[in-house]
């Protein structure tokens, strides 16, 4: 675990390690055996940061239960949409997953700690 404290990136932008959900909202749900996870922010500057930060690889790091992930950009909504393939097996009625409809997947992602530039807070 890295310390929860003020950090400075190589570019000297002051960062704070805090939950993603401090600035980002999310909503998630099911489509058959896939889950979708939409994440949005409220300013253009936040969106520029979000699309750099939340790569497919980063989402897999933050949500280690994810398998194959597709990412789509919706700049008009300041949003990214992720499709997590196969997370729910054969769908809600069959899934043995803790949250079989992926209703809280977005809230889980929001609770993960990331390094957010202080200027965006």
């Amino acid at each position: 675990m890295r310390p929860v404290s003020k950090r400075v990136s190589p570019k000297k932008v002051p960062l704070r390690r805090i939950p993603l959900g401090t600035i980002a909202g999310a909503r998630s749900g099911d489509k058959g055996g896939d889950a979708n996870l939409g994440v949005w922010v409220r300013t253009d500057a936040q969106y520029e940061w979000l699309r750099g930060e939340l790569t497919v690889e980063r989402v897999k790091e933050l949500l280690p239960e994810a398998g194959e992930v597709d990412r789509y950009e919706l700049p008009n909504l300041k949003a990214l949409n992720f499709v997590l393939h196969g997370l729910l097996g054969d769908g809600v009625a069959s899934s043995t997953r803790f949250d079989p409809q992926a209703k809280a997947l977005g809230e889980w992602l929001r609770s993960r700690h990331v390094e957010i530039p202080e200027a965006l807070l």
Binding site: R27, K31, G32, L74, L77, K78, A79, N81, G91, S94
Partner: protein, 413 residues
């Protein structure tokens, strides 16, 4: 402008919403979505017990209570509550004896083509609904149409849109997507819920213009909020690529423009393009039987306790078809019993109903013979059948989408 409200986002949503939406303000059309992938399975099991069922029964009770007022005020009712039996629901609405002109949409049921499935329903579009309304229907019930079609159909009928008015159809589809989950557009299940009063969100309303643009709002005095953020949240629900495929139009979600409006949010700019040549089909098959239980593991030696009970259960019924999850929710040196406890979930999924039942017996027989502090959150039941969902695609031209008008005339859509 046409004012279209929503009073249901799923089978089981707030019963009083129909009354609240009729009494709370002006409306031209009141819609309700009752169907989800899982709901089709539930209705399929209803229909196995009684072929006259297979529709959402709460909708009928809501109409018993409210249809007279809707008729008096000229508010049309459009709902997919017909589920697997729209004709049966239409007959039941007729029998309410209020003189409503009732029409229904059919042709989605493709069980003949997928005989192995318990339910097989194509996602139809909006044009059957539009035909029914153009013929003067007061109530339109459908089976599996896309959720957004409940909004697109009334708008298309009202404005006389053509099948190739792609941008208007896409705009109304986006409004329909916002409305289809009821209060999820108005502050329900909303990440920033602490910024609004989310106690009892009102249901949403779309005021749609002739070009397909809209204002999303809700009745005055209702709870929740309609903001760019609450609408964005719902736009992101259950989507994939930005080109959102539907049976009538592809709606390009990366062209949606949202602006604050004094009564909510304005949606404009949505571009549409022609739909694919295939229709999606929702298939549910019975997958077997499932059963589950949750062992509570408290205090010390959590891993060893989990290992013991797992070994015991597997020795009793065999290790096949079992899925185990140990949630390490316990805290060391905790000052409440609950926060000192971890949860060990086990689920069995098996083609053999007897084995699903044996799982219960084996679990219960451990009660005095397992880890110290043995208890379960709830005793396992007898096991229940479970469904497996999959999607299929069929040529659009192979599906007979029909509108059955209030006078009984059948229109091929």
């Amino acid at each position: 402008m046409i004012r279209i409200g929503n009073a249901s986002g799923f089978y089981g949503d707030r019963f009083s919403a129909v009354r609240e939406m009729l009494a709370g303000g002006e409306l031209d059309v009141l819609t309700g979505d009752y169907l989800a992938e899982l709901t089709m399975l539930i209705l399929g099991r209803d229909r196995m017990k009684d072929a006259n069922l297979g529709y959402a029964r709460t909708f009928l009770r809501q109409l018993e209570e409210n249809l007279a007022e809707a008729l008096e005020r000229g508010v049309k009712i459009v709902s997919n509550a017909g589920g697997l039996n729209p004709e049966g629901l239409a007959e039941a609405v007729d029998k309410l004896g209020l003189g409503a002109k009732v029409a229904y949409v059919t042709g989605d049921d493709l069980r003949e083509r997928f005989p192995e499935a318990l339910t097989a329903n194509a996602y139809l579009g909006a044009w059957g609904i539009a035909e029914c309304l153009a013929a003067g229907a007061d109530v339109v019930v459908t089976g599996r149409v896309t959720d957004a079609s409940l909004v697109v159909g009334p708008a298309a009928a009202h404005f006389g849109w053509g099948h190739e008015d792609w941008d208007a159809l896409a705009g109304a589809t986006v409004a329909g997507h916002v409305l289809e989950c009821g209060t999820q557009a108005t502050g329900g299940n909303y990440s920033f819920f602490t910024e609004i009063d989310a106690t009892r969100p009102g249901f949403p309303v779309a005021e749609i213009e002739a070009d397909g643009s809209s204002v999303i709002t809700k009745h005055d005095g209702t709870g929740g909020a309609v903001t760019v953020d609450t609408v964005t949240a719902q736009l992101l629900y259950e989507i994939g690529a930005p080109a959102y495929l539907g049976p009538d139009v592809v709606s390009h979600f990366d062209t949606i423009r949202l602006d604050p409006h004094d009564r909510g949010v304005r949606i404009s700019g949505v571009k549409g393009s022609p739909p694919p040549d295939t229709l999606k089909v929702c298939l549910n098959t019975l997958g077997g039987f499932r059963n589950s239980t949750t062992f509570v593991l408290t205090g010390l030696d959590i891993e060893a306790k989990a290992d013991l009970v797992r070994h015991q259960l597997e020795q009793a019924i065999g290790d096949g078809d079992l899925t185990w999850t140990l949630a390490r929710t316990e805290h060391a040196d905790a000052d409440t019993e609950e926060t000192a406890s971890a949860l060990l979930h086990v689920t069995i999924k098996t083609p053999d109903a007897k084995r699903a039942k044996a799982f219960s017996r084996a679990g219960i027989e451990l009660a005095l013979a397992s880890y110290p502090g043995f208890h379960v959150t709830a005793p396992p039941g007898d096991g229940t059948p479970f469904g497996v969902y999959r999607a299929a695609y069929v040529p659009r031209t192979s599906v007979r989408h029909r509108a059955v008008l209030p006078d009984g005339e059948v229109v091929e859509v």
